[in-house]
Amino acid sequence: MDFKLKIWRQDNPQSKGKMVDYEVKKISPDTSFLEMLDQLNETLILRGENPISFDYDCREGICGQCCLFINGRAHGPIEHTSTCQLHMRSFREGETIYVEPFRAGPFPIKKDLKIDRQALDKIIASGGYISVNTGQAPEANQTLIDSDTVEQAFDAASCIGCGACVASCKNGSAALFTAAKISHLFQLPQGKIEHKKRIKNMVETMDQLGFGACSNTGACEVECPQGISISHIALMNREFWK
C-alpha cells in the first residue's frame, strides 16, 4: 500500500516545529504503524537526513511508551488500541495520514513526536500506592476479596500510563489516569486505610502540575487503549468531596 504522511518535526523543546510531507510506498497491510515509520526512517538515514523520533519500547501494547496522535486521534483510528498495535490495514490505500505528538501543557515535546510524561510519575509518587514495606505483609488469604471486586479493581489497575486520556481531553485533564489509580486501590480492602490522604494528595498534585479540570466530555474513555471507564472519575469526584 502507498501512503502520504504529514509528520510533526521539531528539533528540540525550544524550537518551533512544523508539519513535513513524506511518502511511503509498497507497505504491506500487515505492517504495524511503527514498523511503517521504521521503514521511512531507514530511507531517511540512508539519505543522510535526520530520522523521525518517536516513542516505543515493548511494541505489544503494554508498556505505554508509544504515543502518536494520528489523524486527530490519540493512538489513531481504532478504539482501545495503542499506537504500536495499529496496523496499516486500518488505513485506506493512498490515504494522507497526519502524525503528531500527544499535546498537553504538562507534556512538553522533546523532539519530533517524543514527549516528556514525567508529570504522570509525579502524580503516582504523591500517593498512588499502599504504604507497606517489604516484609510486613500478612498471609495473602487472610483477607478474602470477592472476585467481582478484584475484577473491577483490575479494570482500573490495567492503565498503562500512556497519557492518551490527557492528549484527547480538550482541557488537558489527567482525571482518567489519576482516577484509575485511586479507584484501583480504593476498591481493595488493603487500599482503603490511606484512601483519604491518597485522594487529596494525588488530586492536588495533578492540579499543581498544570493538568486541566475534567468537564465530563468522555473523550478520554474513547481513546484509552485499556478501555478504562469514566465511571472511575465519578468515583474519584464523589470520594474527593466526601
Partner: protein, 644 residues
C-alpha cells in the same frame, strides 16, 4: 582455539553451611548488619527498574540506604517486566495437590536440567510464598475464586498448580506494585530516579566497583555517578536475536561493559526459545509477540499429518492431525517444558509439516476446550489473549486455531553471581534476568518473575549490607578519580567513533543479520560445525559494522540510532561469546541442544561426568578464558530429564 581454559581458579559460590533447608536462615542469622542511623551514608546505584531493580531499590531505600535508580525508558514503570503475561509461581499449596518447597525446588532444578546450584534454587522456592503476601498487600489484583480465595493455574513442566496470575498481565501488575513502592521512596527523598539514562560503563578502582558512567538520552550529556555499591538489574539480552519477545530497547550492554571491566559472564548461550509466539510474517517485522504459555493449559498443539498440507485448519479431519506433543510426551502432553515443546515444533516444521503462509508455524487449537468448557469460560480465562491475537493477525481464534512458532525469549545466562548475588567484582551485584541465576539450562514458566522479585525484595537487601558493613565507616563516594576520568573518556570516544563511521548501512541491518546467524546456528539446535561458521560470520559482520555503519552524526540531544549502535556493537561481541560457550559445552542440556549429543530418539543427552559445571567466561586481551564452577549435588541425584 577460540578460548583457553583456566583450571587453577575455582569460583567461590559462598554457599552457607548446613542442611539445604537451613542454609538461607543460617546466612541471615550470621550476616553483619549496619545500624539504621548510619545507612543513609551508603550510596547504592541500581541500574534497571524492572521487577528486580524496582523491588531492590524500594526495599533498600525502606531500610534507609541512599539509592539512585537508572532506566532507559521514560518511566520506571515501563521496564519489560511489564510484558509478562502468564503468571508467577509460588509455593502456597493452596490446592492441597502435594506441593511443597522441596517439590518446587526439585521441579525447578530438574526443569533446568541439573545445571543450577541446589542452594540457590532451594532459596527461591523457600521465599516464594511470602512474595504473594507482599504483592497482595501492595494491591496486586491476582485472580480469585468466587469464594474470595486466591486462584491458581498450572504451567509447563510441573504437575501441581502453583501459578498465581492477574489476567494476562501478571508482570504489569507485579511491576506496578514494585514501581509504586519505589515511587513512594522517591517521594520520601530516599531514591533519586534517573529515567532516560543509559549506563555505558562500570567504573572500578583496584578491582572494586565504584560507580558508573551514564548518558542522558534526551540531552546527550555524559555524567559520572559514584557509590559504595552498584547493582545491575538490566534484564535479559534475548533481543540479540533481533526478532524476539523482548522490547526494542532491551540490551546486553550494561552487563557486557561490566564484563569488559572484569566481571565473569556465565553460560551466555543458554537462551530460552519460547514455543508459543506469533510467527514472523515478513521482513519488515521488528518483534515477535508472545502468546502466554498458559494457553497450553487448554489449547492442543498439532500439525497436519501430510507434508505441505494446503487445506485450511478447520477442514483437516482429526485423523489427519498429528498432536505431536501428546504423542511423544504422553504424561505432560501440551504442557511439556518450553525447550522440549520448541524443539518438537522446529522438528515438525523442518520436516515439512509447518503451517501458515511461510510454513513456519504450528497450530494451537481451542476447539475441544470450547466444546467441553464453553466459550464463556475460555473467554474469561484467555479473553485478552484472544483479542490481542486478533488485533495483530486479524484472525478470530474462537473460530480457527491460532498459529504459533518459537521465538527467542529469555536469557538463562548472564553475569556470574555467588549465593549473595555478588559478581566476582567486589561491590558489583547482578539481580533478575541479568544474572545467570537459578534457572539452570532451562527456565520453567512463571519462575522468572519470581526470581526477579525474590532477588530484589528478599535476597539483595539481606546480602548487600554485609558487603557495606565490611567496608567499615562510610566515606562519601568520589567521582573525580583517574578511573572515572578514563572511563568517561572511553565512553565519549566510542560514541564519536560510532557516529563518525559514516558508511552505507543502518544499525538495524547489522542487527537483523546477526539475528539470522544466531537463530540459525546458535538457536534451538547447535553443532560444532555450525557454531564455528557462526563465529567466523560474526567476525566478518563486526568488521563490516565498524566500517560501514551509517547513523546521524549528532552527539547532543536525542539520537536513537546512536543508542542502538552502541547496543549492537556489544551484541556483536556477546554473540561471538555465545557461540564459543555453546561450542565449549560438548553435551546437550536444557535449552542447549548439541546435535552431536542426542539419544537415538532425538532427546537431549546430558554428560554429567564432564559438564556438570557453570561456565564462567573471563575477558582476556585476545581469546576469552573459561573458568568452571563445578556443581555439587548433595541433596538430589541428577536424573535423566524425562517428560514422557
Amino acid at each position: 582455539m577460540y578460548y583457553t581454559t583456566d583450571t587453577a581458579t575455582t569460583p567461590n559460590a559462598k554457599i552457607p553451611e548446613g542442611d539445604l533447608k537451613d542454609k538461607w536462615s543460617n546466612f541471615k542469622d550470621k550476616t553483619r548488619l549496619i545500624s539504621p542511623n548510619n545507612r543513609h551514608q551508603y550510596k547504592i546505584l541500581v541500574v534497571g527498574t524492572g521487577l528486580s531493580g524496582a523491588s531492590a531499590a524500594a526495599s533498600l531505600a525502606e531500610l534507609g540506604y541512599n539509592v539512585s535508580t537508572f532506566c532507559f525508558q521514560d518511566s520506571p514503570r515501563r521496564a519489560h517486566s511489564v510484558a509478562a503475561q502468564g503468571g508467577v509461581n509460588a509455593m502456597k499449596n493452596y490446592k492441597n495437590d502435594g506441593d511443597s518447597v522441596y517439590r518446587m525446588f526439585y521441579d525447578t532444578l530438574k526443569g533446568g536440567d541439573f545445571r543450577a546450584r541446589e542452594a540457590n534454587v532451594y532459596r527461591l522456592a523457600e521465599c516464594s510464598s511470602h512474595l504473594i503476601d507482599q504483592a497482595v498487600a501492595q494491591g496486586v489484583p491476582f485472580a480469585r475464586e468466587y469464594s474470595g480465595y486466591l486462584a491458581n493455574r498450572s504451567f509447563g513442566g510441573v504437575q501441581v498448580s502453583r501459578t498465581f496470575y492477574a489476567r494476562g498481565q501478571t508482570g504489569q501488575q507485579l511491576l506496578l506494585g514494585a514501581y509504586q513502592a519505589m515511587m513512594r521512596q522517591v517521594h520520601l527523598g530516599r531514591i533519586k530516579s534517573f529515567t532516560r539514562h543509559e549506563m555505558l560503563d562500570l567504573v572500578t578502582e583496584n578491582g572494586v566497583a565504584k560507580g558508573i558512567i551514564v548518558r542522558n538520552m534526551d540531552t546527550g550529556e555524559i555524567s559520572r555517578h559514584a557509590a559504595h555499591a552498584v547493582v545491575l538489574a538490566t534484564g535479559g539480552f534475548g533481543k540479540i536475536y533481533y526478532l524476539s519477545t523482548l522490547a526494542m530497547g532491551c540490551n546486553g550492554s550494561a552487563i557486557w561493559r561490566a564484563h569488559k571491566k572484569g566481571a565473569w559472564t556465565s553460560c551466555p548461550s543458554w537462551t530460552q526459545i519460547h514455543p508459543t509466539c506469533l510467527p514472523q510474517a515478513g521482513n519488515y517485522q521488528s518483534k515477535l509477540t508472545l502468546m502466554s504459555e498458559s494457553l497450553r493449559n487448554d489449547g492442543r498443539i498439532w500439525v497436519p499429518q501430510t507434508k505441505n498440507e494446503n487445506r485450511k485448519a478447520i477442514e483437516i479431519p482429526e485423523e489427519d492431525r498429528d498432536y505431536y506433543l501428546e504423542r511423544k510426551y504422553p504424561s505432560y502432553g501440551n504442557l511439556a517444558p518450553r525447550d522440549i515443546a520448541s524443539r518438537a515444533a522446529k522438528e515438525r516444521i523442518d520436516a515439512g509439516h509447518g503451517v501458515g503462509p511461510l510454513k513456519n508455524a504450528v497450530y494451537l487449537d481451542f476447539k475441544d476446550a470450547i466444546a467441553t468448557q464453553g466459550k464463556d469460560i475460555i473467554s474469561k480465562k484467555y479473553g485478552n489473549l484472544f483479542n490481542m491475537y486478533e488485533k495483530i493477525t486479524g484472525i478470530n481464534a474462537y473460530q480457527q486455531p491460532m498459529m504459533i512458532s518459537p521465538a527467542a525469549h529469555f536469557s538463562m545466562g548472564g553475569l556470574w553471581v555467588d549465593y549473595e548475588l555478588s559478581t566476582n567484582i567486589p561491590g558489583l551485584y547482578a539481580i533478575g534476568e541479568a544474572n545467570f541465576s537459578d534457572h539452570g539450562a532451562n527456565r520453567l514458566g512463571a519462575n522468572s518473575l519470581l526470581q526477579a522479585c525474590i532477588d530484589g525484595y528478599y535476597v539483595l537487601p539481606q546480602t548487600l549490607p554485609q558487603y557495606l558493613a565490611q567496608q567499615g565507616k562510610a566515606t562519601p563516594p568520589e567521582s573525580s578519580s583517574e578511573a572515572f576520568m578514563k572511563a568517561e573518556n572511553q565512553v565519549r570516544s566510542q560514541l564519536e567513533e560510532l557516529s563518525g563511521i559514516n558508511g552505507s548501512k543502518t544499525v538495524d541491518h547489522f542487527h537483523r543479520e546477526l539475528g539470522k546467524i544466531l537463530y540459525d546456528k546458535c538457536g534451538l539446535s547447535r553443532s560444532a560445525k555450525g557454531l564455528t561458521e557462526a563465529i567466523e560470520s560474526i567476525r566478518v559482520l563486526r568488521k563490516s559494522f565498524l566500517q560501514d555503519l551509517k547513523i546521524p552524526q549528532v552527539l547532543q540531544g536525542i539520537n536513537e540510532e546512536l543508542e542502538k549502535a552502541g547496543r549492537v556493537a556489544d551484541y556483536l561481541e556477546i554473540g561471538e561469546l555465545m557461540c564459543i560457550d555453546a561450542l565449549s559445552r560438548e553435551e546437550s542440556c536444557g535449552a542447549h541442544f548439541r546435535e552431536e549429543h542426542q539419544t537415538p530418539d532425538g532427546e537431549a543427552k546430558r554428560n554429567d561426568s564432564d559438564f556438570s559445571y557453570i561456565s564462567c567466561w573471563k575477558k582476556n586481551a585476545d581469546t576469552p578464558v573459561l573458568i568452571k564452577e563445578p556443581l555439587q549435588f548433595e541433596f538430589t541425584k541428577p536424573t535423566e530429564r524425562s517428560y514422557k
